[in-house]
């Protein structure tokens, strides 16, 4: 140890502050609040609303969307099915043709739509990340195949293809719809992740990792991938919103899945049972508004995230 190195070591010790973990957390929280106040508040509200809806669907009286409500009819002195009831205190959003509470059904539909979007988003992101990272990393034939698949998927017209596939496959199961949507919408994200990986893999720290005898696949997923994580998260949010809307679209046309009660199925009921023509507005306006609100909030999450992430790149 030379003299100069000792001096340097001493300087480093002096610079070190003795902070407790709690102080550090507090400091980081304040720093985050200063910079991203709007985003944090918006996200909190969004997640709390969704949490409330999910919890409500698990507890009575909202836990059974198929429960039929009856009322005592004094004229015929018999129980009558409480169908097409207008919004009242008893049924806040009225009931449908089978006497089922529309508010309960709406809560379940929102929850199921979100879950559907979540799983489909995961499928899309998984495919996009795998092809986007492994292609440029391995190079050569693997890269050729990966970008060929991506290009093919990019030039396909997505929505018509999804409609066609859903119509041709006669199975109306939730996982079929999920796979169909998942397999046809991932392509643009794979392309943008690929271009990011191509720039990052030429950086110096990859060379250091390579010279430290790290395996290629490990470098790709442990060193490169954390650097493209902002794009991955953004892509995931966009996929999530899109999947909900696409599912609703194909469900309205009657070719979607029939297992999960989603917003799309509620709207399809509205069309098929003629509620739009019969002015049963309480049966189709709330699901429509919910769909718009969900898509809007995911769009806002995504745009606020891109604002947050852009500060890093500048």
């Amino acid at each position: 140890m030379t003299k100069q190195m000792e001096v340097d070591l001493k300087n480093q010790e002096e610079l070190k502050l003795n902070l407790s973990t709690r102080d550090i957390i507090k400091e980081k929280f304040h720093a985050a609040m200063d910079r991203y106040k709007h985003q944090i508040i918006f996200m909190l509200v969004f997640f709390i609303v969704i949490l409330i809806i999910v919890i409500l669907t698990l507890i009575p009286p909202f836990n059974d969307p198929d429960k039929q409500y009856w009322y005592w009819d004094p004229v015929v002195e018999f129980f009558q099915l409480d169908n097409y009831a207008k919004p009242s205190l008893e049924h806040l959003l009225g009931t449908d043709q089978n006497g089922r509470d529309q508010l309960t059904r709406l809560f379940h539909a929102v929850r199921n739509s979100l879950a559907f979007g979540l799983f489909t988003g995961l499928i899309c992101t998984g495919i996009a990340v795998f092809l986007g990272v492994i292609g440029p990393y391995k190079g050569g034939v693997v890269d050729g195949i990966a970008s060929f698949i991506t290009n093919i998927a990019l030039v396909f017209p997505q929505i018509p293809l999804i409609l066609l596939m859903s119509a041709v496959l006669r199975i109306r199961a939730w996982w079929i719809t999920m796979l169909v949507i998942g397999l046809f919408t991932w392509s643009w994200a794979a392309r943008s992740i690929r271009s990011q990986v191509l720039t990052i893999k030429e950086r110096n720290f990859i060379k250091v990792a390579k010279m430290s005898a790290l395996k290629g696949v490990r470098i790709a997923f442990y060193e490169v991938l954390p650097n493209v994580l902002p794009y991955v998260i953004l892509a995931f949010i966009i996929f999530l919103g899109n999947a909900i809307v696409i599912e609703a679209g194909i469900a309205i046309l009657g070719v979607g899945q029939q297992n999960w009660l989603t917003l799309g199925l509620l709207l399809q009921d509205a069309l098929q049972a003629g509620w739009v023509q019969s002015f049963s507005y309480w049966l189709w306006i709330p699901p429509g508004i919910c769909l718009i609100l969900i898509y809007l909030s995911f769009f806002m999450v995504q745009s606020s995230l891109s604002q947050t992430f852009e500060q890093r790149t500048s």
Binding site: M1, T2, Q4, M5, E6, D8, L9, Q12, E13, K16, G139, E202, R203, N204, F205, K207, V208, A209, K210, M211, S212, A213, L214, K215, R218, Y222, E223, P226, N227, L229
Partner: protein, 332 residues
């Protein structure tokens, strides 16, 4: 007889791409003895970094080996299995500090996690090993003058010199035989340069690394640490000599002009010699000239320099190989 740890024979490496073929390394051969600190100097764009990339055995995709051999410990690097190179050669035999090592740490990871990542291959994934490895690394970092708290920080929280030493530390965790340092001082101020040189000297003194390949264009820095020197010009070696001979008795016209273009001042601020640059710029390596590559810029060029590339001549007075026709007669 000294052991030769690194032997390079007629190495050729070209960049191939849509821009054509760039003859970056064109027939370089030299050898490094155990315990040497070898300097590779030259202008920018003379192939110093390409040479280092080729020596690591894992060059970037565009740079391709076109011929020649690299022997590391009598093992031919480019005939070995890639898996064997990864497991046995990298970081056990060759450590590499890349150019601009300011950016050589993963910006989204703490130093601790980066170290755990890069040591994982050697250590395995047993949970208890983690602390052991970190303790070892911290001890190693202490030798380089780095605090323990460094490993809990992100790269952007460290100063340039500290980052540099962290990289040197990571490259030397497994006591490599040869350490290739590529332009380590290019972005540092003079005091930090001094600290880095002391660090490297200290590493050599304590036996962590024995042989250092120091690539730089900064001859004053090289003069402080190296004992032999190779001057490169346009992808070829023009002169090999000891560091003192290069500075005091340069032979090749290029070396002479390179030494002349060093700004050196006396303590009172007066300069001994006039500062002179080398007019012109290195040749385009896409289609290198047939003859001597320094011909267009050479002040003492001969007629035959234009057509024939000079082999190495050893003059009686200097005893150092130099690739210049001026020394042809003396060699006989």
């Amino acid at each position: 007889m000294t052991e030769k740890v690194l032997k390079i024979e007629d190495l050729k490496g070209y960049y191939r791409g849509s821009f054509g073929v760039v003859h970056a390394i064109d027939g370089v051969s030299f050898s490094v003895n155990k315990g040497d600190i070898l300097a590779i100097a030259g202008e920018s764009g003379c192939g110093k970094t390409s040479l280092a990339e080729l020596l690591t055995g894992t060059p970037i995709q565009m740079l391709q080996l076109e011929g020649g051999q690299v022997y590391v410990n009598d093992l031919s690097m480019y005939e070995l299995d890639e898996e064997f190179i990864r497991k046995e050669i990298l970081c056990k035999v060759i450590g590499y500090v890349p150019q601009a090592s300011q950016n050589s740490l993963n910006p989204v990871k703490k130093i601790r996690n980066f170290i755990l990542d890069v040591t994982r291959e050697r250590v395995g994934r047993k949970p208890r090993q983690k602390e052991k490895v970190l303790d070892r690394v911290v001890e190693h970092f202490k030798k380089l003058g780095l605090e323990r708290s460094v490993i809990d920080k992100y790269p952007h929280e460290l100063s340039g010199g500290m980052k540099q030493r962290v990289i040197v530390g990571i490259s030397t965790i497994w006591n490599p035989l040869i350490l290739i340092v590529d332009e380590p001082t290019s972005a540092l101020d003079v005091t930090t340069q001094q600290l880095l040189i002391e660090t490297l000297r200290h590493l050599k003194k304590t036996g962590i690394v024995e042989t250092i390949l120091f690539i730089s264009h900064d001859i004053p820095v090289l003069a402080q640490i190296c004992n032999t020197c190779i001057i490169m010009y346009a992808g070829r070696i023009v002169e090999k000599a000891s560091m003192d001979d290069i500075i005091n008795k340069p032979q090749h016209p290029y070396t002479k002009m390179l030494i002349n273009s060093i700004a050196c001042f006396n303590p009172d601020g007066s300069a001994e010699t006039k500062l002179e640059g080398i007019p012109g710029s290195p040749p385009d390596l896409k289609n290198p000239p047939k003859g001597c590559r320094f011909y267009p810029r050479c002040p003492s060029r001969l007629e035959k320099c234009k057509e024939n590339y000079p082999p190495f001549f050893i003059s009686r007075t200097h005893n150092n190989p130099v690739a210049c026709w001026l020394y042809e007669e003396i060699g006989d």
